[in-house]
């Protein structure tokens, strides 16, 4: 099985976001960048497919120069090959999707796995866009799946439950937390991964389909009435919810 896993590098979840000097993106100085948390499931799923069906796993990232670090993580976890495409456009999912599709077309994967979202621009768009560009079916937010022969049966999370979806290979899926239990790379593998080759490819120049005018930090407009825990306070809270906030 020819498996392509697409991963991204994002600011650590504990990052306190500040607006950069361009006024449109975040200030990157001092920010720790990590492997997108959902992509731990992505890489793990690729490795499990190889263990089950044989074949090879290629990890791909589209991003700025520092994004190569996450390919080292993927190599340490056990992927066979790493491909880096330089394109730092985060605002436009389409531009990332075009670059992924371009690499995919050259390797004809049976399965493309991605994370359900990158926790920077949170677009949830990549599985569908890549699927459309490759003319493949896609299933997003998959928490469980099974491949038998050419048939794929997957469960994806929806509001208040799960959808059971049936399709055929080749296909694209996006991984939800719980799909698997990602392995930790072992120290010797981390050391070995440092000297493994990373193939660099030039990105496809596609003009961005969106433009950002400005980035701002959310302003809290909360009333902030802080009460104690006496009976009177709790009654007051109930009154405020009824009469002031009018939410119950």
């Amino acid at each position: 099985m020819n498996i392509l896993v697409c991963i991204s590098q994002v600011p650590d979840t504990t990052t306190k976001v500040a607006v950069g000097t361009d006024g449109k993106t975040i200030e990157k100085t001092g920010v720790k960048f990590i492997l997108n948390p959902y992509d731990e499931f992505t890489i793990e799923e690729g490795l499990r497919l190889r263990e089950k069906f044989g074949g090879s796993v290629t990890a791909l990232t589209v991003g700025g120069d520092t994004a190569k670090e996450i390919l080292r993580t993927a190599l340490a976890m056990g992927v066979d090959k790493a491909v880096f495409v330089k394109d730092d456009n985060r605002e436009d999912s389409y531009s990332v999707a075009v670059n992924i599709a371009e690499v995919a077309k050259s390797m004809q994967p049976d399965v493309v796995v991605l994370g359900r979202q990158s926790i920077d621009y949170d677009s949830f768009a990549m599985a569908s866009m890549v699927g459309e560009l490759l003319d493949m079916p896609s299933i997003s937010v998959v928490s469980k799946w099974n491949i038998e022969g050419n048939t794929v049966i997957a469960e994806r999370d929806i509001e208040g439950g799960k959808e059971v979806v049936e399709t055929t290979l080749p296909c694209v899926i996006s991984a939800q937390k719980g799909l698997n239990d990602p392995r930790y790379p072992k120290l010797p593998d981390i050391m070995k991964a440092k000297s493994k080759p990373i193939e660099e490819r030039t990105g496809v120049a596609s003009s961005s389909r969106v433009q950002t005018f400005s980035m701002e930090l959310p302003q809290s407009k909360r009333v902030g009435k802080i009460l104690g825990d006496t009976d009177t306070d709790i009654s007051e809270l109930v009154r405020l919810l009824h009469e002031e906030a009018k939410v119950i």
Binding site: G131, G160, R209
Partner: protein, 318 residues
């Protein structure tokens, strides 16, 4: 003159509220013709949209739309949008909307703006605001293409009924579909019976590490029951195995924007705040008066959840 197609999504035989919200948002883009599109659905439900100001609607039907297929629905929407010369297509950013809107944008060579929380019509073009970095920041953006595809975060835009509504003029639309468009289909839906989901609830009562163990969550559930609320949880609680992942609110869980969010024993790590800060009203109950959750709360009770929750539940029962 711009034309906005609003994709209407149904739950059972009724239009989802997120679709009604999208209608109101589309009508707010001045100088636009708004057309609803229901795919393989129940035509009578469309009349409800009339109360929210929709005048025109198409219902797409085809033998290949019998079973839900996101690829077939995407193809149908794109074909319809082209047929009416749509300049924008609006979706609710629901589980289905999030999956089909990116496909539709690729099919229409359209710029894609997901998860919008505000739209401003500026001389014919739309400037959208959307949260990024899980709500830690917001960007204002626009498409650079002729056509734009937007998904709207549920429960952020208000669905407004109009004065003097008229009957919706409904017509049929038959898309050109082939088996190739239906290579994936939904074969079953597994509902969490009797349990309200955080992504659909008007009120959420969430518990954090301060609940001290799975066995104490009955306090959160009791309060939730009185309020008709869904139960949510912080990441710490889910990682500890006290609650299922489906209840997790936050950066690596679900992003929610209910009318009322009650955080019980949740300190308010930045990842949690990211997932719930667009809630309309936030109540925090925590014994640490310096907990960050109080900085985003409208109302706070500084006190022990084990003491406060039963009292609050009792007072709300009366």
């Amino acid at each position: 003159m711009s034309t906005i197609v609003v994709y209407l999504e149904q739950k059972g035989n009724e239009l989802k509220r997120s679709s009604l919200e999208a209608i109101t948002a589309a009508l707010g883009v001045t100088g636009s013709t708004v057309i609803g599109l229901l795919v393989g659905g129940d035509a009578p439900s469309v009349q409800l949209a009339g109360e929210y100001g929709l005048k025109e609607c198409a219902v797409a039907n085809h033998d290949l739309l019998q079973a839900y297929s996101s690829t077939a629905v995407s193809a149908t929407i794109a074909e319809f949008a082209k047929s009416v010369g749509a300049t924008s297509v609006f979706f609710g950013a629901t589980a289905a909307g999030k999956e089909i809107s990116p496909r539709v944008s690729v099919k229409l060579n359209a710029g894609f703006v997901p998860d919008c929380v505000a739209l401003e019509a500026n001389s014919g073009s739309i400037v959208a605001s959307r949260p990024v970095y899980a709500g830690k920041a917001k960007i204002n953006m626009a498409v650079t293409t002729t056509v734009g595809v937007y998904s709207l975060r549920p429960n952020v835009f208000t669905a407004r009924k109009v004065d003097n509504p008229t009957a919706v003029s409904v017509r049929e639309f038959t898309p050109t579909l082939s088996a190739h468009d239906c290579r994936m289909k939904v074969t079953n839906v597994l509902r969490n019976e009797g349990k309200l989901d955080v992504s659909e609830a008007d009120i959420i009562v969430s518990g954090g590490r301060g609940m001290k163990g799975a066995e104490n969550f009955h306090l959160v559930e009791s309060l939730g029951k009185v309020l008709g609320a869904a139960v949510g949880a912080s990441r710490a609680v889910v990682d500890a195995g006290w609650r299922p992942h489906g209840e997790q609110v936050g950066q690596t869980g679900k992003t929610v924007s209910p009318n009322l969010y009650i955080a019980c024993g949740i300190s308010g790590a930045v990842q949690h705040l990211a997932g719930m800060s667009s809630s309309k009203v936030i109540v925090a109950i925590n014994k640490d008066k310096d907990a960050p959750i109080f900085k985003v709360a409208d109302y706070g009770i500084v006190g022990d959840v084990f003491d406060v929750l039963p009292k609050l539940t009792a007072k709300l029962t009366h």
